[in-house]
Amino acid sequence: MNEFRMQPDNGLEFGVYTLGDHLVDPTTGKRISAQQRLQEIVELAKLSDEAGLDFFSVGESHQQGFVTQAHTVVLSHIAAVTSKIKLGSSSTIISTLDPVRVYEDFATLDLLSNHRTEIIAGRASRIGLFELLGYDISDYEALFEEKFELLLKINQEERVNWSGEFRAPLTDAEVLPRAVLPIWRAVGGTSTSAIKAGRQGVPMQLATLGGAVSTFKHVIERYRNSLEEVGLDPLAYPVGTAGFFHVAETTQQAQQEMYPYINEGMKVTNGQGFPKQAFAQGKNKDNVMNIGSVDEVVEKILYQHDAFKHQRYLGQMDFGGVSFKQLMRTIDLIGEHVLPKIRQYTKK
């Protein structure tokens, strides 16, 4: 765990992730400017740091309705205005980037941030960026696997000898500056991808937007079994989960406040809304969605921790044009009520 800068004895890590979406607030019908949205993301990271949260990450999406395409630049700015919180990407689409440049950027950021920076590498759920950056969608899987492997190699080896299909070979190449970064694999929720993460021997960041805790527990078990199959110790590799998060006075209020954002946001970014029935079930203890009263959400996260034995939870609370006022209140509630309880019950 130390290799990945995780200290499970301190309890479950709690973080925030944003996809960097830039959407109309359905409750007002208005969309803030890209400039304001970017500044509010930085401000959200700052508040998270001040409230004592463990992690903040920013995603990379290259389609309409998003604003953090240059997520490393955003993270760099965040690094400058925060002091303790760990920072990462959620995720970096390594498939369409040069692993050498990604390593250079994140290693630099790690040094500037006093070793607070991590990479979560993913494959992208949308493919606009393949066209934009000049890649062939038919290489979707091969691009990710090759480039992710190269990124891991650069992270581990001072001098790199490598050749592959999608990039010029590296001969005794020194990729600088040096830093040993925690590099996670983003997993969308399927066992197939979790097994790949396990066989690769990398930490897994698992998306859990909705559904039964037991479903995701199974995926995590497959990951840990796969680590074992290749001779690695499952206890040495952290698991993170990520999903929708919101807290309010009551569970009903939390659902009322959040549903329009998630439903309308999904319509725009995914072409279909979030089924109301599935959202309603989200309040059940055995459902992964962490939307409810402070007490219920704390209880849910602890229940998930019992099932998953995971080391990090990331909440997405800003999706779909949520007002900054609501975000400030949510961070306050996390800092004052959620974090102390989670740490109290999960630290060793």
């Binding site: 759920s125 949308r126 969608i137 009903q252 009322q256 549903y259 995914n270 072409g271 279909q272 959202f279």
Partner: protein, 188 residues
């Protein structure tokens, strides 16, 4: 009410003809209905390559969105090699897996022989169920011999199409009622 009829064949004229007839008998019952026909023969859709449905070319996305956003979808299909044609299967593959969630769907089959009567039951309904559709169970099965040229000659076909239209209209009404009751119970 948002109604879409899909003519699932890129070959021949009978499926399209049957779908057009359904539109005619539907409008007799519900003159104000807005019915859009998506004729796969006229569209030249690409093969599904696994991408998110919003990532296809603009006109393809526009077509797929019509189905995703419809309240009622009727699929017209011929029988090819004891199944639905590849063109219709590809159309399903282009759509997201729960594209028909909350959608009331009906089926019209055109076939050369009555031996394939259960084709819709065994090949088409499982797909619609998987895509979360509310399927009106009874479908209309029209034989090639019911056509003379481009005309449907049996009164019986019109009567069956009219029953399908009526079932779809009332099932949609019932579905709306159920949905409203459920949503009221959720409290958000």
């Amino acid at each position: 009410m948002n109604i879409v009829f899909v003519s699932g064949s890129v070959v021949g004229t009978k499926t399209r003809r049957a779908i057009t007839e359904l539109k005619k008998v539907w409008l007799k019952q519900d003159a104000a209905a807005q019915i859009e026909i998506i004729d796969l023969k006229a569209l030249k859709l690409p093969f599904c390559d696994g991408r998110h449905f919003l990532d296809y070319e603009e006109d393809v996305v526009a077509t797929l969105k019509k189905v995703v956003e419809a309240d009622v979808v009727v699929f017209g299909t011929p029988v090819f090699q004891a199944s639905i044609p590849g063109s219709l299967k590809n159309f399903f593959d282009l759509l997201p897996q729960d594209a028909l969630r909350e959608t009331v769907t009906g089926i019209v089959v055109t076939a050369g022989s009555s031996k394939h009567y259960l084709m819709a039951e065994q090949h088409l309904k499982p797909i619609l169920s998987y895509m979360k559709a509310v399927v009106v169970s009874t479908y209309v099965y029209i034989l090639a011999e019911d056509f003379v040229g481009n005309d449907l000659v049996k009164d019986d076909v019109d009567l069956r199409l009219a029953r399908l239209a009526e079932d779809l209209i009332f099932t949609t009404e019932a579905k709306r009622y159920i949905q409203k009751k459920q949503e009221e119970a959720y409290g958000f």
